[in-house]
C-alpha cells in the first residue's frame, strides 16, 4: 500500500466524493439491504476462506462505503487502511453477488466508489499506482515508448518469417476494419502473442492495424481508484480510433479491458449516453466469427484431444455477455470439452481479477487462497488444459495449478488457433523459397 503516513485525512474531499455519488441507487442500496446474508454463498472469497463471516459481500460494502456515508466522511487513516484490505484484497468486483442478492444490489459499483475515496487519500496499492503513473507519462501501463512497440512489432514480423510468408503488422493504417488494442504485458512478457495475432489476421485476410498511440486497452487506473486518469485512458483509445477512421476497436484476450472500454469507459470518459463512441469487439467474438465464416479453418486431425475446459473471465462472460460465443468456439477447437460448474454468467472469479494480480508477489498468498474455489472447479472438471482469454485468468490459472497441484496448463485462444488451423498455401513458405535457401 502506498501510505502517506502522518498526513491527515482530508474529510472534505471524501465528503465531496460521497456527495457526488449519492444518487438514488446508492441511497436505495444502503437503505434497503436487509442483512439477509444470501450474498455470502455467492462470493468465491468467502467460500475459499472457510466461510469467514467478514468476507461476505454485504459485510464488505457496509464496512467500507456504508461506514463512510454513516460517518459523513469523518474517517481516520486507520479506517482507510482497514478499507484497503477489504477493497483490494477481498473483492475483485466480479459482480457475481448482484445476481444472488434478492434486491440486486450492485456491490461492485459501491466497492469502486470506495476505492475512489481511498485513492483520494493516497491509499491505493503501490503497484497499481506505479502502473497508473506509467499510463499518465506514456499512455500505457508498462511505460513502453511508442518506438519500442513498433520495434517489437517489426521483430515479431521477422519471427513469423521463419514459418510463414506475407505476415505483416500494419501500424497506424487508416480506415482499417479493426484497430487492434493490446495489453502492454504482451510486448513485454508474451511478444509471441502479437505474432500469433498477426498470423491469424493474415490468414483471415483482415484489414487491421495496431495504433502507435492508444494501443493499451487495459485500465489499471480504473482498479487503482483513479477515475480521472481511467477516463483519460479510455479516451485515448476512442480518440485514436476516430483519428484512424477505424471501423471498430478490437481488444486482445484481456477481460477488464473489455469491461473498461465497452461498459465502464463511456461513463469514466464522460459520455452521457453511456455508450462507447465506436463499436468495441472482444477477441472471443472475433475468433468465433472467423470460425463461423470459414475465414479460419481448423485442421480436423489437429483438433485438441486432451480434456479441456474454459475459464469464463468475469469481464468477458458475466460482465461481457460472451459465454455462449466462447462455447461455440470450443466446439470448433476441442473434442473433449468439459465445462466447469458453475459456469457462464454464474462462473466464479479466478481470484486474480480486480487488479490483485498486477499488485505483485506481496499479495500472492491471499490471491492463491481466494482461488481455492476455482482450483477445485478445475480439478472437478478433469480437464488438463484451460482456455483463458484473459491475461489475469491465464496467469492465475497457472499459479493455481502450481499451488494446488492441478497439473493443468492455461492456453490463450491465439496459441491454440495458430497450432491447429489450416494455413493456406499462399501463407506457407513455398518449395521455391526452401529450394532457394538450400541452394
Amino acid at each position: 500500500m502506498s501510505k502517506i503516513s502522518g498526513q491527515p485525512v482530508d474529510s472534505s474531499k471524501i465528503r465531496n466524493i460521497l456527495q457526488a455519488n449519492s444518487g438514488a441507487r446508492i441511497r436505495t442500496w444502503l437503505g434497503i439491504c436487509s442483512r439477509c446474508g444470501l450474498c455470502a454463498e455467492s462470493c468465491f472469497v468467502y467460500l475459499s476462506n472457510d466461510r469467514n463471516p467478514k468476507l461476505s459481500p454485504a459485510y464488505k460494502f457496509l464496512n467500507t462505503l456504508g461506514e463512510m456515508y454513516r460517518r459523513k466522511g469523518m474517517v481516520d487513516r486507520n479506517f482507510l487502511e482497514q478499507c484497503f484490505e477489504i477493497l483490494w484484497l477481498q473483492c475483485t468486483m466480479c459482480k457475481r453477488c448482484s445476481l444472488y442478492c434478492p434486491f440486486g444490489i450492485d456491490i461492485a459499483t459501491m466497492i469502486a466508489v470506495a476505492r475512489n475515496i481511498c485513492f483520494s487519500q493516497g491509499v491505493t496499492p503501490e503497484k497499481l499506482s506505479f502502473f497508473s503513473e506509467n499510463c499518465r507519462a506514456t499512455g500505457n501501463h508498462m511505460g513502453i515508448p511508442a518506438d519500442e512497440l513498433i520495434d517489437t512489432c517489426q521483430w515479431m514480423v521477422e519471427e513469423t518469417e521463419e514459418d510463414y510468408r506475407g505476415v505483416t503488422i500494419p501500424i497506424d493504417k487508416k480506415g482499417a476494419r479493426y484497430m487492434y488494442t493490446i495489453n502492454p504485458r504482451e510486448p513485454v512478457f508474451y511478444p509471441q502473442d502479437i505474432a500469433n495475432a498477426a498470423i491469424i489476421f493474415s490468414v483471415a485476410e483482415e484489414n487491421w492495424t495496431i495504433p502507435s498511440k492508444g494501443w493499451d486497452c487495459t485500465n489499471l487506473p480504473m482498479f487503482a481508484g483513479d477515475r480521472t486518469l481511467a477516463g483519460r485512458v479510455v479516451s485515448d483509445v476512442y480518440e485514436k480510433a476516430a483519428e484512424l477512421e477505424a471501423e471498430k476497436v478490437l481488444i486482445t484476450e484481456c477481460g477488464h479491458a473489455y469491461r473498461s472500454l465497452a461498459y465502464e469507459g463511456p461513463y469514466l470518459a464522460g459520455y452521457a449516453d453511456g455508450l462507447p463512441p465506436i463499436e468495441i469487439v472482444h477477441y472471443v467474438q472475433l475468433i468465433y466469427e472467423y470460425l463461423r465464416d470459414g475465414r479460419i479453418r481448423i485442421d480436423p486431425n489437429k483438433k485438441l484431444k486432451e480434456p479441456i475446459t474454459y475459464q469464463d473471465p468475469c469481464n468477458v462472460s458475466r460482465n461481457g455477455g460472451l459465454w455462449e460465443t466462447a462455447r461455440k468456439i470450443m466446439a470448433y477447437l476441442a473434442e473433449d470439452f468439459r465445462d466447469m460448474s458453475p459456469n457462464r454468467e454464474h462462473n466464479h472469479c479466478c481470484g486474480g481479477g480486480g487488479g490483485i494480480l498486477p499488485m505483485g508477489p506481496e499479495y500472492k498468498p491471499k490471491r492463491i487462497a481466494a482461488g481455492r474455489v476455482k482450483a477445485e472447479q478445475i480439478r472437478a472438471s478433469g480437464a488438463k488444459l484451460v482456455v483463458a482469454p484473459c491475461h489475469n485468468c491465464f496467469d492465475q490459472v497457472n499459479d493455481l495449478s502450481e499451488a494446488y497441484m492441478l497439473g493443468v496448463k492455461a492456453l490463450s485462444l491465439k496459441e491454440i488457433i495458430c497450432e491447429i488451423m489450416i494455413v493456406p498455401d499462399k501463407f506457407k513458405l513455398g518449395r521455391q523459397e526452401n529450394d532457394h535457401h538450400t541452394r
Binding site: 436505495t28 436487509s34 440486486g104
Partner: protein
Amino acid sequence: MNQTFQMLTGPLLWISFIIFGFGLIIRTIYLILLSRKKDRVVYNHADLKWGIKSILHWIIPLASASMRLQPVFTFMVFAFHISLLAVPLFLSAHNILWDESIGLMLWSMPDIVADLLTVIMIGSGIFLLIRRVVRAEIRILTEARDYALLLLTMFPFLTGFLAFHQWGPYQIMLIIHILSAEVLLILIPFSKLGHMILFFFTRAFIGFEMGGRRGARSW
C-alpha cells in the same frame, strides 16, 4: 379504555395510513427525481423485458439460483411475506371495520385460513430470527434495529391472534395489536422495510444492467 380504542381505530389509524402511504410515495418520488439527475446509467440501458424478468425471477419461489442454493430459507421467506400481506388485507374482522367506516370491503378469507397463515407467519418469523442469530455471516451483519424490525413485524400478528382467540386480557391485547401495527406502518417508509416498493426498482435496475446491457441473467 373505550376512548383509547376509538383513538387508535380513528385518528391514529388514519395518521398511520397517511404516513405510510405518503411516506412511501414521497420516498419513491424523491429517489426517482434524484435518479434522473444522478443515475443516468439507470435510464441509458433501461429495458422493460429484462427488468420484468429480473423481478419475476425473484418473486417466484426457487426461480433464481440464489434461492435454489437455500431452499429452506426460500420457503420460509415466501411463507413469511405471503402471510404478512394476506392476513391484514383479507381478514374478515378487518374487512368489517372497513365496511363500518368507509362502506367498502375486500374479499374475506375464512377465519381458519387466517389463523393458519398467522401461525405460519409467526413460525417463519421465528425461523428468520433464529437464522439471524445462529449463522455467523448473518449475525455479523445484524444490528439491533434488524432484530427490532423483525420482532415488530411479528408483534401485530401474535397479539392479533391472541386477541381473536381471547387468550389473555382481550382489551389490552387488542390495543397492543392496533398500536404495534400502526407503529410498523409508520416505520415502513423510513426503514429497510421500504423494500416493499423499492425492491421493484433495484431489481429492475440490475436486470437492465446485467441483462439489458450484457444478456446476463441476474437470477
